[in-house]
Amino acid sequence: MTDATLPYVAHGDPHHVRGMQESVIAHEGPAPKRIVTGFGFWIFLLSDIVMFSCFFASYSVLLGQTAGGPSGAQLFDLRSVAAETAFLLLSSFACGMASIAADVRSVRWYQIAMAVTGLLGLGFLLLEVREFTDLVSRGAGPTRSAFLSAFFTLVGCHGVHVTAGLLWLLTMMAQVYTKGFRADIMRRMLCFALFWHALDIIWVAIFSIVYLIGSAT
């Protein structure tokens, strides 16, 4: 702040990469809200995938630790898994339809598509709960062995996410019903759709690594 610094002319560009004029155009300023929200939610999804990777890792480590109890091949019912997969994949399709309905601002088709998404998701959950209770009743619950602890946690964590997703779905339906397709509700729908599709991707990983590979060994 003293006079001694006056002769100094600042070089903001020590490597002379750009002229002064161009530099302002190089970055337009903060991104619009929809992009910021979507980006932030992607980052959250990435963090969630990291968490799932830990459960996948623990599953792989503990795969052989059946403590004298049943292994995956002895337990898994692939037909039920196939049904669960069908439910979930179809519900993702329905969710896609809901996104499109929101884009064209059709409240009716939106609510129908979301209801279908929700029912299919619920179907998935009911099948999974049935699978779990069946395993527990056969003495193959999560307290039986480390392998089963890891299995129930990995698949159960996905199920908990689906449950949370269903609560969110109901909230979205209520929001659109009361407030219509307001800008902030559209941003939330974007996030919900990303979440629902991400759950689908995790499920693909689960049924491949846990059920398909597990049944083959």
Binding site: T5, Y8, H11, P14, H15
Partner: protein, 277 residues
């Protein structure tokens, strides 16, 4: 327990690497710190003689040097690390004179049990070995994770229930040294220090015979007694009745120790382990 006073080849090699690594790094660190203090002093704004170069924000040559110095140091140290890790791996066998002594060490709450399967005895909180002989240690834990460490003789190694870790060492001087448990394992943890007696190989069989003249017997039952959380003040010796005790423990045929009992009247809520002192 001075690391710089090793009494065996493993500890000697470990501490040599320690000193050498520090010396290599000090060759870089001392000039750096001198430069930091020198620049800070010389370029203080009250020094009229210091030049002011407000444009000096980049120099390719300096960049090359500042990336190169740490890199070269790390390459050198990396070599030390690679070679040292292989030569000094706890499982690497150590040569010596006389017949090797096999000791099976079990960490319990809160004591060390040393089983000598070939001699048919066991000791509590005290290890006696002949000087110059290779010592093969197999280690496991009867409960929680612990770590076995004799600073003047050998590297440290963890002990874990259901698993066996291995350590090889040799003592080159007679004397009494100290060992410690270096992984926190609960309220009695500080009491897990143990003595290491290094005696002449001629005296060793006498010591074994004397240790065997005890009325305490080590089998699954007495082991279960030992497993309960307590601190032992007497360095007892045992006759080893069951030579397969260690393997049974390591393969879970003997279950891991029970933990602290629920002690208070109100049982369910505020639970503190008994003060074992």
């Amino acid at each position: 327990m001075n690391l710089f006073d090793p009494q065996g080849p493993v500890a000697a090699a470990d501490s040599t690497i320690l000193i050498d690594s520090v010396a290599i790094m000090l060759a870089i660190v001392i000039p750096t710190i001198i430069a930091i203090l020198a620049f800070a002093y010389y370029f203080r704004s009250s020094n009229p003689r210091a030049f002011y170069s407000p444009d000096f924000a980049y120099s390719g040559r300096i960049e090359l040097v500042v990336w190169a110095i740490p890199t070269l140091t790390i390459i050198l140290l990396g070599g030390v690390a690679w070679i040292g890790s292989h030569q000094l791996d706890p499982r690497a066998p150590v040569e010596g004179t006389g017949s090797p002594v096999r000791i099976q060490a079990v960490s319990l709450d809160w004591k060390w049990l040393f089983i000598y399967p070939d001699q048919g005895i066991a000791t509590l909180n005290s290890m006696t070995i002949p000087v110059g002989a290779p010592i093969h240690l197999e280690l496991t834990s009867g409960s929680v994770m612990s770590a076995f460490f004799i600073p003047q003789l050998a590297s440290m190694i963890y002990t874990m229930n259901g698993m066996v870790t291995r350590l090889n060492m040799r003592a080159d001087q007679e004397g009494t040294f100290k060992g410690v448990a270096s992984q926190f394992s609960g309220d009695g943890f500080p009491d897990m220090m143990f003595d290491v007696h290094v005696i002449s190989p001629l005296d060793f069989p006498n010591w074994v015979a004397k240790a065997a003249k005890t009325d305490r017997v080590l089998n699954a039952d007495s082991f279960r007694q030992l497993s309960r959380p307590s601190v032992e003040t007497v360095n007892a010796t045992f006759r080893l009745e069951d030579p397969r005790l260690f393997e049974d423990l390591a393969t879970h045929k003997i279950p891991p120790a029970p933990g602290p009992e629920v002690t208070t009247d109100a049982a369910e809520s505020y639970i503190g382990a008994p003060n074992v002192r």
